[in-house]
Symmetry: D2
Subunit: 343 residues, 4 copies
């Protein structure tokens, strides 16, 4: 049993914790919170030992019926790997602690590549993560881009990618962030950081990205154009998607043409937290014309990186050397099968 600590029990951390708990070869040794709130009660309901960053706040937790097992350092000492799911830019400040304790650590895409020195995607570079001490799982958008670009590159060779990311403004449970009625260029300048970030996983790809933020909480939407080296066959692209363990095809028969309907479908299917771990590629949008391939893919910002974290743990621990086997173990333990298998 690989012992895993989750530092930061928020949007990502709570999902990774449940995914770890579902694996046969892993267990959650603890999760951390900075203040008592609804999520802390969820951790209690799940039976995850609760640790806190600042022990002076222990009475505040206990006052509302939440037991505190110790400090974050105490938690890390129990673990083989810590998944750092603290907010962006906080994660890096935890590195000295992990180094001091000699513990393996995974950071999320909100941190710079340099924090871990290695950026991970299960489908692209699993083998290179084996035995590593520090790994960074790239962001939800970069994960979604890497999966499909790598698959197309292997089949047809990618000459250039032009990807537009229309991003959600906040997660569903957030209430402070906007915009309420605007399209925000984030950043205004081109290319956005997403292109260079893809290169941390797939260094030889040529890519230009543009990004904006819109008033929705549901998912990101990518409008992608790939110029390939060989002519593209639409049917073959569909087959590549259908046979990929982390890509899903939204078929016309589902009548889905939006992120909202897609999330509703995931909810109805009983997915935990309505999570979509896979790239959701709209079959009807796949357009192949000579060496031009276009399509839309929806990316669930809270979920696609969850399964990648699990594989990263397994690779770092050397518990499984084969990417496909780890991916299958992860998916099976979650009862996850890409969405085309449900309609």
């Amino acid at each position: 049993m690989i012992k895993v600590a989750i530092n930061g029990y928020g949007t990502v951390g709570k999902r990774v914790a449940d995914a770890v708990a579902a694996q046969k070869d892993m267990k959650v040794v603890g999760v951390s919170k900075t203040r008592p709130n609804a999520e802390a009660f969820v951790a209690k309901q799940r039976g995850y030992p609760l640790y806190i960053a600042d022990l002076s706040k222990k009475p505040a937790f206990e006052k509302v019926g939440l037991s505190v097992a110790g400090s974050v350092e105490d938690m890390c000492k129990q673990a083989d790997v810590v998944v750092d799911a603290t907010p962006g830019d906080i994660g890096a400040t935890n590195k000295p602690l992990y180094e001091k304790l000699g513990i393996r650590a995974i950071w999320q895409g909100g941190e710079d590549h340099e924090v871990a020195g290695f950026s991970f995607n299960s489908s692209c570079n699993y083998k290179d993560a084996i035995g590593r001490k520090f790994v960074r799982v790239v962001s939800c958008n970069t994960t979604g881009l890497c999966r499909i670009i790598h698959a197309i590159d292997q089949e047809y060779g990618v000459a250039h990618v032009h990807a537009i990311m229309v991003r959600r403004g906040s997660d569903p449970g957030e209430i402070k962030k906007g915009p309420i009625d605007a399209i925000v260029l984030d950043p205004v300048s081109v290319p956005s950081h997403h292109g260079p970030d893809v290169l941390t996983v797939l260094p030889r790809i040529s890519i230009t990205t543009m990004a904006m933020i819109v008033p929705t909480t549901m998912m990101h939407m990518h409008a992608i154009q790939i110029t390939t080296k060989k002519d593209v066959a639409r049917d073959r692209v569909i087959e590549l998607i259908k046979t990929h363990p982390r890509m899903g095809l939204i078929k016309k028969s589902a009548g889905i043409k939006s992120t909202a309907e897609l999330k509703e479908f995931a909810m109805d299917l009983g997915r935990p937290r309505s999570d979509l771990y896979e790239n959701c590629i709209f079959e009807d949008s796949i357009y192949a014309n000579g060496k031009e391939l276009c399509f839309f893919q929806a990316i669930h910002q809270e979920a696609d990186i969850v399964v990648e974290n699990i594989d990263a743990i397994r690779a770092m621990m050397g518990a499984e050397k084969d990417a496909a086997k780890s991916i299958k173990m992860t998916n099976d333990a979650l009862g996850f099968s890409p969405i085309q298998n449900n309609h």
Copy 2:
């Protein structure tokens, strides 16, 4: 086993179907759809026999792998009770069919009181539904109002209610309805229809309601002021809520001050479809000053009437004569306990 058919497998129908399937004394004999879409695949996943209104569309269903068991009339013939969850104003047009087949029927709050001649709320008038052929379960907003007004009326006597309903513009899975950036008075005139609708369940209450629509999908919010006949004690009101099987108290310790955070909590707790069957009353908002009682309650538009439908089935069939027992059976079968028990 009470055999239940669900006519209209949409936002409400799919929830009622799952709630029926969870009861020990009930089973789903079929659900109906008008066209093949994502929800039809969900019905298939759940194993509910699929019936269709227009048999000429059978090939369209079969083409995408959906078996059709027969017509809506065929479905009703299998059932003891049909829950009509078709869109507002369509339900009434189905009455001749139900009458012809001599089947018991439940309509939702989108239909007029006169369709069934009896409007139902488990906590208010369960006994009066026993043995009835036709019952209307009042709308989500009316359900939420009836529960709390009845409880306060029994304790303190209600002189007058002033209730403002701030309603969600569309459900999360809908994409056509707005508004996007507006507060819409719906209706402009005062009182809105909600006040008179409360009277179909609680005929002696004096109430003025005002209603508007805002650009959110999550839940409705009620801002309520009740003028009572006796002085109100805040602690007693809290106790009334805590001990009610269909009312929940959002305690300060959860740190929740919005519909979005509330839905996130329900999701994290593993509620099916993140559903909140209970009135969600914010403890911190409860304000008692002499004979004035004010508070906020959030109402999950897709969910609070689901449990009421189940109780209505049981009452109509005469399967359980005691409201409290039916409510407990319904809640227990769903693993449902009001939200104050989770934090």
Copy 3:
């Protein structure tokens, strides 16, 4: 000519500046900005001398073609009155400067009553502002409440007010603030601060307020119930509104039932910045039943306080002793007539 400086040329400041410039007895001696941006170019277009808080930033302004006339202190020295329209809680920190210079100052409703020691509304307490050194113009919501409550109180006597404020999440030009999809109780506790704030202008009123925030940028909406001391006649209430210089009646003939349609109408009428200086009361919503009076009023958060600032200037300078005359001068100079006169 009364010389007016505007400290803080943002959402409120830019409107007050234009309103001052439109008056025959006033002129703008300067406006201040903290950084060069679009609004600074607007000030230049209008010909308002531009002053800055931090003179070390002068080169940043000049680099983009914006002349800087001096510091905020330099600006204040040119003025008889300074209108402080800096962001909430900043205004109070400017008081020592105004005191040092011995200049009259007006603060906005984002500051506490105590900063000025006197809270102002043209229709309620103009006379009490005559000759004052420091005045606070109450917030947009409090202004809207005071106007109507005072008018009803004078006619019928107000026993109690129950007011629910459904507030916009951000102004149209803001992009950082949410919520995107939530109704946020702000605050959760009852009463909200609006009730006590009304008392700073109308100290003898009994009022309970509840407030929430929704995802819109357009206007606030108030759902108000007033319990009066005498029976209310609906027609008389309509007459009171129609004859009030700062209240507008939205008649049924306009077909307007939302904030969005109302702002569109204001835009089409050619109102500067589509501003609605008046309470916008929906005629169809006015409901009178014995001693109960209910109605909806929309309040343009950026605008209703603009005209109040102008009157406050005139009162403080002792330039006009009669409230009605000042209000008429202000309205006429802006070409403003309440909206019922346009349909």
Copy 4:
């Protein structure tokens, strides 16, 4: 004086009417409405004779104080040209009337190209419209695409365009249309209709378009990648934009990075209805790398076609043979100068 009738006084019609009225060589002979509402009162305020489609509704107009000058046919008889600004797909049904009366007619982009047989853009094919009986002014998105693509094509030659259109869900004054919280692919299939529509004006361009709808009312946003035939120089592209009479450059100094801030700036500048007639291209987003040119442009859906309608009128009447002169006349009469001249 060219006599112009506006059939359909709504979002587009009311803007075209004011733009016509501002021209020295044109006058508004009438506008039409189907029902009395706020916009009808605006027409009255402006002094435009009001005609109605269905004369039996005349009493409904007169009852609220709106004089009716006659029928739509009566209106057309007064005119040299009718601008049809009725809702999409209605316009085509008016063609027989215009043919019967032998009147020149302009349709908007909601109609098919075939209705007029000629699709117009001032900057691309003004000369071909001279003397025409029927002209279609292409949609706001197509107008925005044609302007920039044509300019780049003339300078560098366009090999291929990949354009993503992120469209507003409804106009600010609309309240029924959503989505509230979703990104909707509209259509799901690639290419969207916008690419083929560009070809009605610029038949030799190779273009792939993808389109989606998001919950905002402000403006559309285009993310554009153009592959050119010759290497692109960024400074030259900026110069092309700056010197184009219908393209505007949003410079970094304005600090604007969203549609909301852009509309606020237009409002502050005193533009009528805050209208942006020009493509709003973000200087910071202009990215040139060899033969790849990328940039963001915001398109005000209610406005950019207004000025095109005016030029179309002049061309059809043969009143001015030179495109540049007509464009300058139109712009000057509106006091319009592209936005880079304001910051």
